[in-house]
Symmetry: C2
Subunit: 583 residues, 2 copies
């Protein structure tokens, strides 16, 4: 596939996962890292004495040179490397040219957060307001005038996982903030009251072509990535596409190939700001190993080796990643969670083989895949519960328990929406809910009136798909417009239940629902028969979920048994004495 | 998770994939294999001098002892190990007891194919007829009388990938067959004219609980596994369950924990025979790495370490595995195929890092995942085409090209079945086909009459799901029973198109289709509106396939544009001159 040898500056978990991907492709890799048994070196035994790994720091010019001499392509798993040395190395002529990805120029821009922000601003990428400061109180005070308080005082360099960030709420805190951040070069950022953090992994080819992975929601805790969810859900159907466009445009402004992690803030008004960019595989993309057609690690290798990129599509319906962060110097808490994960279907544990555990250290992660968001949260819940640091509020927020079937309340992660034009339709529509209860399919049930709440109708229908619904059951009577109007504003299958009114025996509703014009189908069931609407929803979901096929087969068998029992009763008691029970 | 150290006898590709799984769980592994840089040792750098890998053969008693002294659990990646040594080691008391999985007794039974067959027969597992022979012509001649000709003459030991098998067509070939198989102990098997080869990976816990992976179809070429497909498709809806039951029952008869690969023959009459069992991760289970919630490798480790088993469910809709078999001593042909794979979405290349290529050697494999069987075959086709050994017949058989949309012929891998009660319904039903053409969804179109071909109706409906269909569009007129009857015999969503007859304006058909009793839903569309049936089928498929959501959104936007264009024309030419075009 390729004979090129790849050198990685850094041998932590990202190097380990890059190394595992490289093994699949028989790509030879040499690691530069301190010691002989770090996370990456564990999974990549040296192939020959001449290709032995290098023992040293990714910041040591001599060691970088030693690595460069062995390889054809240099890449990084951390951006805090010595760019000057990389530039020097690149300028020295050699027999086979050395490629460095991303380019030293890109690393140079990104490793200084102020320079990164200035670059993004100059390239019209959306960033929140910021300004340079020096480490004097006066300078920060004038930044506070410009940006307002609270503001973020940040280290320009060597900052990651929230280290090097300090919130300044009041002018009186400035001195403490400066001393807390040490003698590092600083800058100030306007406080960003975001509603959600999102991230997009973008892979860039040597020719500058870019390709996005699905946008994800990231949840940080104590400034460190805690959880990642994909796909990105929400009421705004334009959000995923907008996030990708911004991330791709930003990555296009850099040079060199490889994966970039673009972290962004989503604001209340739907606005997106770029927070920061990492020029390498990123924590928010770990989920791609199990959940996407090609992992970010393999695509990083493909990009830097000038091979065709792999598909970035999700191959599962729903996925999450939970970081395993050290709680103390003992692995015990980590083991509690990984043991919990062994009992969770769809959970894959990744431990990084780090020699010792420390508070705040990334020791591993767990990826969960599922057929639906509801199943995902159900699978995630015991893992969050196993963490010593989880609060009940956090657990309920990120992995809400499913609603008890039959409780009369909507599930927090519905797959089916049951809507009706009026509360008077509720008795007719309840059997649909009962069926979904029976199949344990999460649903919501609410009132949406085409004629009395037209705006609500539009909002409901337009957001249904990006909220995670997969089918909608709509009941209406008379001039029954609800199912058809909803169908015209969503790409989901819409099931229509004609509700019988006081006149015309429901034929008015039936014809209003079924006789849709060409282009917009409504799956119509019998008059007042919301049981069949519920069953049709199950069959539709089963088309993408094999376990539901089994459940539906069992249901059909139960119908058969029911009738055969009646056959027997008819024979046992005779038809003269037979009592017809109406259900 | 566990502090136990695992020793693996053998360091080839199975050991390599086991090792990669072990790294994820921080499970320490020591390999026994000749040399320092075999496939498994490459991905598992020794963690410490005391845990260095062992250089030697898995058949060398001294080396097995050396390995055993370092570890808590011994397992195998090949069954041709020295069982006597394993038994000896197990009988020696040690401070911490040594576990051996599978048990030496299991390996002893399985490594001799005659003993394995006798064991399965004694346990009532279905095996085809066989008999012991010695290496004399007379003995084989009497086997030929007992079993009929042709028969298979097989080596009892050290036989795999078809090595050690010889077909005897005529008595005159017996002497040559015996000498071809060398001086090995032999037995004879009745010739099995199977229609398909299938396999089930079963994982067995230390307590003897078993759990199956989805049954797969395996395709052998030159006696070596060539292709694997999952899920197993076919006209017999009971087949997957029967195959699992037979495989699980067989694995239950052995002792010790771990993964077993059960290879079976499917006969014309639906009968299943067990061909042979491997007491370890198996080639037919490589696909589980990308396609299942837990890979066979991780489940093997979990089983032998007495950890809870992981879910064996598929996480994708369709998957295939292609073995990369050496064609010569050059890797060139392999590289041609892996390069082709880089351009195929959903394809993951696994190269085994073997130092040299040889004809017939397993150099790697490629797993493909896809949203549907049709997409899978489409992705597989260029890979088969890249193999120097593929014939056009093989390519068309295992990766048939999609039918050209609009050609008027059914696709070989349909997702939607369009059926109608009579050929007179064809003009009404064609627009459904046109819609599926437009969305490039593979479908079949045929006639199934409820009243005139009731048996065909039953067969069609019962087999629809296991054949891979995901939804059925049924059109019928008058006393229109077809959609409802089909719905009663499948768990798939059935879309009903009422066809207008010469009387009653189609209301007879509409009511016959829509007014289904509670329990069996039919998704009914407007009279004669098969366009909407096609669109509803697309929406249903989209519920499990994100890319179709995008396509449907684009379709809805095109409808809007169409009407807005008419608005403009109405304004441009005025309504007096406006011409209404009927589509």
């Amino acid at each position: 596939m390729t004979d090129k040898i790849v050198g990685i500056l850094g041998g932590g978990q990202l190097g380990r996962m890059l190394g595992a991907s490289a093994s699949l492709l028989n790509v030879k890799v040499v690691i530069l890292d301190v010691g002989e048994t770090g996370p990456a070196k564990q999974v990549l035994a040296p192939l020959s004495p001449t290709l032995a790994h290098v023992d040293g720091s990714f910041a040591d010019p001599e060691k970088i040179r030693e690595l460069a001499a062995k390889v054809d392509v240099l890449t990084i798993e951390i951006e805090h490397v010595d760019v000057k040395t990389l530039e020097d190395i690149q300028s020295i002529p050699r027999q086979t040219p050395l490629a460095i990805h991303p380019s030293p120029a890109t690393i140079h821009i990104i490793q200084d957060k102020l320079r990164q922000k200035e670059h993004l601003l100059s390239q019209d990428s959306p960033v929140s307001e910021f300004c340079p400061v020096d480490s004097t109180e006066e300078s920060v005070r004038s930044a506070a005038v410009q940006l307002d308080l609270p503001l973020m005082l940040k280290s320009r360099t060597l900052a990651y996982d929230g280290r090097g960030n300090c919130v300044v709420q009041q002018v009186s805190q400035i001195a403490d903030a400066i001393s807390a951040l040490g003698k590092r070069p600083l800058y100030a950022e306007k406080w960003v009251p975001f509603v959600k953090e999102i991230a997009v992994i973008v892979v860039r080819t040597i020719d500058g072509e870019v390709q996005s992975y699905p946008p994800v929601e990231t949840v940080h805790k104590d400034n460190v990535c805690h959880l990642v969810f994909a796909p990105l859900r929400g009421h705004d159907p334009t959000l995923p596409q907008r996030a990708c466009a911004i991330a791709e445009a930003a990555v296009k402004t850099f040079t060199g190939a490889g994966v970039f992690g673009v972290e962004m803030f989503l604001m209340e008004d739907g606005c997106i700001f770029i927070n920061e960019i990492a020029p390498r595989p990123h924590n928010s993309g770990h989920y791609t190993i199990e959940a996407c057609e090609t992992s970010q690690y393999e695509n990083h290798l493909r990009a830097i080796l000038n091979l065709p990129l792999g598909s970035t599509a999700l191959k599962v319906q729903s996925t999450a990643m939970l970081n395993l962060i050290g709680h103390s110097s003992s692995m015990d808490e980590i083991t509690t969670t990984t043991n919990a994960a062994l009992a969770v279907p769809g959970a894959t544990v990744h431990l990084y083989g780090k020699s010792e555990c420390r508070k705040g250290r990334k020791m591993g992660h767990i990826t969960i895949v599922a057929d639906s968001d509801a199943q995902l949260r159900d699978r995630l819940r015991p893992l969050l519960q196993s963490l010593p640091s989880s609060t009940p509020e956090e657990i309920d927020r990120y992995a809400p328990a499913a609603t008890t079937p039959g409780s009369g309340f909507s599930d927090p992660q519905p797959l089916v929406g049951i809507i009706m034009g009026s509360d008077s339709d509720l008795p007719v529509m309840l059997p649909a809910a009962r069926i979904l209860d029976r199949f344990r399919i999460p649903y919501e049930l609410t009132i949406v009136s085409a004629h009395r709440t037209p705006d609500r109708l539009v909002q409901y229908a337009r957001a249904a798909s990006t909220r995670g619904l997969r089918t909608i059951i709509a009941g209406a009577g008379g001039a029954a417009h609800l199912p058809g109007m909803v169908a015209s504003m969503t790409s989901l299958p819409v099931i229509g239940v004609p509700v019988k009114g006081s006149t015309l025996d429901g034929v008015d509703s039936l014809h209003s629902i079924v006789q849709m014009p060409r282009g917009i189908p409504v799956a119509t069931v019998a008059i007042n028969n919301s049981t069949n609407a519920g069953l049709l929803a199950v069959r539709i979901l089963a088309a993408g979920t094999p376990t539901l096929v089994t459940a539906m087969n069992e249901y059909l068998a139960s119908l058969e048994t029911e009738v055969l029992d009646k056959v027997k009763t008819l024979e046992d008691v005779g038809w003269e004495k037979y009592e017809v029970k109406r259900t």
